[in-house]
């Protein structure tokens, strides 16, 4: 379907997965660059919920990444992982561990697809089981709760 909304679309393709997709007005080599360059990731990953205090990316297979953020009203949250597959401008596979729940490692497959100069970014998060997947989604809830509720009201109100 032709969805023109600029909101990220989050779907749950299976019990263990989360799929995040969004289209960008830029060629994919730039989206890939913004996704994998520490100085650039620092500028967007914070989502206006705080500041990124650390962003390390060792972009090679077997290399690791670590993001640390100070979230307003919540303190520090940290994520890390290891790159498993890298196809420049195309595809990135890495593990992802939320350090608040270190046993629930996920495998993230990020794809960059360009059509007519626009790029669709998709992030498929594969968890080992449904419980870990659910914890992962809930971890996004706390700080954005007020915004989420406002959004929810408008979404449900339009149904």
């Amino acid at each position: 379907m032709a969805v023109t909304s600029r909101r990220a679309l989050v779907t749950l393709p299976s019990d263990e997965q989360i799929l995040i997709t969004r289209e960008f007005d830029a060629p994919r080599h730039l989206v890939f660059k913004a996704y994998t360059t520490p100085e650039l990731v620092r500028r967007w990953f914070h989502a206006n919920r705080g500041e990124m205090t650390l962003c390390e990316i060792d972009l090679r297979v077997g290399g690791t990444w670590r993001y640390v953020m100070t979230v307003r009203g919540e303190g520090e949250v940290a994520f890390h992982g290891e790159y498993r597959e890298i196809v420049p401008d195309e595809r990135l596979v890495s593990t992802e561990v939320y350090e608040g729940a270190p046993d629930a490692a996920a495998l993230d497959t990020v794809t960059f697809t360009e059509t007519d100069g626009r790029t669709t970014l998709s992030i498929l998060v594969q968890h080992a089981n449904k419980q870990n997947r659910d914890v992962h989604i809930n971890s996004g809830m706390e700080d954005g709760l007020q915004d989420a509720m406002r959004l929810l009201e408008s979404v449900v109100g339009s149904l």
Binding site: A8, D15, I20, A26, D134, V156
Partner: protein
């Protein structure tokens, strides 16, 4: 967050991409099965199967209108799902809004450099 069994069913029901598409279409108003078949470009048995699942978990209602059966969204049944995923979706939406700004900068720089990175 613990979820009741029926809610889990609703979650599973909307996890399927085709069923998400049906819900997207129905969010624009009620539709007959034939409309859905046409808009989705799939077969009637497929659409009927998905509609049955959606009705079973209560996120879609049906009413008879003459010879047609019209399907509509049941908003309140969808609320727990929106509740649950909305915060996460909002987080990524905000992230990507910031990423838009970064990409605009990068594109400006690329053009400034005559196409070189």
């Amino acid at each position: 967050m613990a979820r009741a069994a029926t809610t889990t069913d609703a979650f599973n029901a909307v996890a399927e991409p085709r069923r998400r598409e049906i819900l997207d279409i129905l969010s624009g108003g009620e539709r007959a099965v034939n409309d859905l078949v046409r808009l989705l470009g799939t077969s009637q048995p497929q659409v009927s199967k998905h509609l049955r699942v959606l009705r079973e978990v209560g996120v879609v209602d049906v009413r008879q209108d003459g010879r047609q059966r019209l399907y509509q969204l049941n908003g309140p049944a969808l609320k727990p799902i929106h509740d649950w995923v909305a915060g996460y979706e909002r987080l990524w939406s905000d992230r990507f809004d910031e990423l838009d700004v970064v990409l605009e900068d990068l594109q400006g720089k690329e053009q400034g450099d005559g196409g070189d990175e």
